[in-house]
Symmetry: C2
Subunit: 421 residues, 2 copies
């Protein structure tokens, strides 16, 4: 059986995806590195490197190796062989970008949207944004390898359709994948926004050495993304990570928008902190917040963080309280999943040390010692970049996964042969 057999699925030897992963993600730059990282034999690795280089996916010191049996000396993914279009959609902001095949941002933008205007309007806006990105970035649209979309709701990952997303009226079951595939002729993957943030944070910072990571986004609402044994845990309906509605207090007065009482989101989200701040301003507990409220007509978690940093005791107490409830919920997550890293992100995560300290305190107090022995609780490293980086990471993981690798190598051969290296 030769590598030129007509049925390409027959010539993909076991472990090609693993070899590519070693080069792409584990920093392997030589054949010996790949042997170490994959556990495959030298001859097997050479054969697989040849397959990848012949498709134009690997380069050595800038030149694609063509000589059979003589693998490149310094291996590197040919990041410029193609590019991705990505859009991370939030309730009110779209982060869009073009990245190379290593997920590096070539150009990006953040623009206001209103997700509630429905898929036709919003996806039309995304199309226009993609067009304007192409105008600002000198890549060949013919080298588009994949498209990634993040949305603020549950997604059935295999079909790319939102499933009963609570804050996305009109999007339930909408064929987002088909919308883009028809226009651009490239494969499309769609996922929940927090999943995408979790994946980005993991790939950028923790993928080497940590296979179990929980990312928690604390913004207007609260959600989690779970990396379980090295891949995203999406759940049966794509609804995993909905930690905002876990019960943390047994108080019927704490009413949540979901209809239940005592939910985490009703007491510790950005929205809840804003309402608590307004109550403190009106009751006279915080003269500082009262003066801000008079100016702005509403208060946000950012106002509370600001007031706390200026020494307002009521604001400090509010953040400590919210942090403790989040920490109690996370302690349950630690006992259940035994992750080695928890990353805190989202707008409220920037509320300062007092907030993170309160979260940490509760996590360590309420989790079992074995599960926290090597547990790291840290803030997001990517911040605003998370959406684009994470959505690109999702697309790359799919493009280079074993089930899709045959198609991707075909695309590589077709596109890289049509342009000069």
């Amino acid at each position: 059986m030769s590598t030129n057999a007509p049925n390409q699925s027959n010539v993909l030897f076991a472990g090609v995806a693993k070899v590519l992963e070693a080069i792409r993600l584990d920093g392997a730059t030589s054949q010996s590195d790949v042997v170490r990282a994959t556990g495959l034999g030298r001859a097997a690795v050479a054969e697989r490197i040849y397959q990848l280089a012949a498709a134009g996916l690997l380069e050595t010191d800038g030149t694609v190796s063509q000589a059979r049996g003589r693998p490149p000396r310094r291996l590197r993914l040919r990041a410029s062989a193609g590019h991705l279009l990505v859009a991370a959609l939030g309730a009110s902001t779209a982060h869009v970008g073009i990245t190379d095949l290593l997920g590096k941002e070539l150009v990006s933008d953040a623009v206001p949207i209103a997700i509630g205007e429905g898929p036709e309007v919003v996806l039309g806006e995304v199309d226009a944004l993609f067009t304007s990105l192409y105008q600002r970035c000198p890549v060949d649209p013919g080298l588009l390898w994949g498209i990634g979309i993040g949305v603020p709701g549950p997604v059935e990952f295999t079909t790319g359709r939102p499933v009963a997303p609570p804050i996305m009226p009109g999007w339930d079951g909408y064929p987002i994948r088909e919308h883009f595939r028809e226009r651009y002729g490239a494969p499309v993957w769609v996922d929940n926004d927090v999943n995408v943030l979790a994946l980005g944070e993991w790939r950028e910072k923790f993928a080497r050495g940590h296979a179990n990571v929980v990312f928690i986004k604390i913004g207007t609402g609260i959600g989690a993304g779970i990396i379980s044994d090295g891949s995203l845990h999406r759940g049966a309906q794509g609804a995993a990570g909905d930690v905002g509605h876990i019960q943390v207090v047994n108080d019927p007065a704490v009413v949540c928008r979901c209809g239940n009482t005592g939910c985490l989101e009703a007491i510790a989200s950005g929205f809840a902190i804003g309402r608590q701040a307004e109550a403190a301003a009106r009751s006279g507990r915080s003269p500082l917040l009262a003066s801000v409220l008079q100016r702005n007509e509403l208060l946000t978690a950012a106002d509370v963080a600001d007031a706390a940093s200026r020494g307002d005791p009521a604001s400090t107490e509010m953040l400590q309280n919210a942090g403790r409830y989040i920490g109690t919920m996370l302690a349950g997550v630690v006992n259940l999943l035994n992750p080695s890293v928890i990353v805190i992100g989202g707008g409220v995560a920037g509320a300062g040390d007092v907030f993170l300290a309160a979260i940490r305190e509760s996590v360590y107090r309420r989790s079992l010692p074995l599960a926290t022995r090597h547990l790291l609780v840290t803030s997001s490293a990517l911040g605003e970049r998370g959406g684009v980086v994470g959505t690109a990471a999702m697309v790359l993981d799919e493009l280079f996964s074993e089930p899709n690798l045959t198609d991707t190598l075909d695309r590589a051969r077709n596109t890289t042969m049509s342009v000069p290296a």
Copy 2:
């Protein structure tokens, strides 16, 4: 490259493990079934089936197919080509057995042990039990393919060593794998007992169609096993699933053996129900339990279940309460992981309909609608058989996984060639 190349790792084509899985687990009995189940082409499937049949792992109507290019008409794993030795160790009972290569029990036994006597004593007893199983079962000890051990504590799965197990004094870091590998010359896998139960329940009943399943064992303590996207989630230190110490009440009077307050285990475990029953007996709230206490000098959850089935209101209330707390914790698990099945097992799970109904009620009331839309909450189907079935499933999943398949096929060739088919 031929299938007789000396370096076996080179000849394992991508997807051999998947082909084997389709036959072993998905009920594929023809080449067309395998094509459908794996998505591989016909030629690729034929090649892979040949590899497996040549190693003696597949049979057709009882005969191993040897003709190259002519795959067996009715495919079946040759379950009698080898056997496994398994032991599921609890705090006070060992379930041991010999199974075939489909995990079917050929012979089994349950005997009392005391896990606290330490590894040397207990593993010596397991050796003796294995010897007596061999005496009762006409298999050739030379055809032993693998050994599986379940233990009641966290395990580092890659090394097979217990990690700070709270109820296993003397076992911390003990080389259980080496103990058996040296004596029997077969590969050994060790895991936590609840993980093994979860795997067995999933493989037996839910593996087709459900990739996200949570098993909860309610016995003296409370623990969970998590199937995430089709494989066991073990966590960073093998400590995942320790749900007994998630906080469910904010009551400083509910003191747990772990040192914290308000833990699930302190209010809803078999141990806790027994203590509540004794209090109800002594206070006069339950004359029925008082009479049982007088006879037996202690009360168990089984006594409470029995009293409830005979109409004792205090006992019914205790089970309802415990069920509700377990359901509240499980609602958090549902929001976090979005499983499609929850299986309730362990001794207390047999406490009857009132208990399961209370669990269900809380789960459905406190979880988000999307996550419970297709959620099944059910009792364990395996019961006492779970330990042996689950431990065997763990060993088979490892033996037939891609990283180990080369070694397993070598073992198959060596052992099946040495005896008449």
